[in-house]
């Protein structure tokens, strides 16, 4: 993967290697999503890797958390991984995506609370 090549060999490779080790521990569908996320983050072009490291860490952390909870990757990310990455990196469309997360949060909570019968 070109993204990986970009960062390998510089002083950041240790962070990214650690990410890869963590990604290996994920279920298959999650690992595939991680590959896609990396590819999409790379589209943000002008970056050395350093400033994007925490963003990638956030994404990986979310995948780890959600897979541990037994959710499907589809449930967590939906279909729009490029949009998800835009929002993570704060690029164009980040605001609409965050609005969608906001809405998703409220509807999911409402649905699950209703199911509780409360």
């Amino acid at each position: 993967m070109s993204f990986w090549d970009t960062v390998t060999g510089n002083d950041l490779s240790r962070d990214w290697k650690a990410f890869e080790t963590r990604a290996q521990a994920l279920p298959d569908d999650y690992r595939a999503a991680w590959e896609q996320i990396k590819g999409n983050l790379f589209a943000y072009g002008d970056f050395s890797g350093r400033n994007l490291t925490p963003v990638a860490d956030t994404a990986l952390g979310l995948l780890e958390e959600s897979s541990a909870e037994g959710q499907s990757v589809q449930e967590v990310l939906g279909d729009d991984i490029p949009g998800f990455c835009a929002a993570l990196a704060g690029g164009n469309g980040a605001h609409t995506y965050r609005d969608r997360w906001r809405e998703q949060l409220n509807t999911t909570v409402a649905r699950k609370l209703a199911r509780l019968g409360g």
Binding site: N51, T58, L60, G61, A87, L88, G90, N106, K112
Partner: protein, 103 residues
């Protein structure tokens, strides 16, 4: 550095998860969905773990007072979550700033 430290690096995380599990079901639902939202938004303050631990404290107190989670924070969970991180910068913002600095 990031979320990873909260999840793996700190022993506290397991204790934290146990405290979440001890909450009543309605609180647990709201906490878990909120945490997922906060992970996505990525406020820098999330990394030290105090924000999340504080929410559990607050929820535990509300539950002990016999309130339901919606009595405590209303139904607009997103507004509550955003209120908590209103003046905390996000990793996305830091990233965008670093791009601007380079131009």
């Amino acid at each position: 550095m990031g979320i990873h430290d909260i999840i793996e690096g700190k022993r506290h995380w397991r204790a934290h998860v146990a405290r979440v599990k001890a909450l009543p079901p309605d609180y647990r639902i709201v906490y878990n969905e909120m945490q997922k939202y906060l992970f996505k938004v990525g406020p820098v303050d999330l990394a030290d773990g105090n924000l999340l631990a504080g929410i559990v404290d607050f929820f535990a107190e509300g539950a002990a007072a016999g309130k339901s989670v919606t009595q405590l924070i209303g139904t607009d969970v997103a507004a509550f979550a955003d209120g908590l991180i209103k003046d905390s910068r996000t990793y996305a913002e830091l990233y965008q700033e670093s791009l601007r600095a380079k131009r």
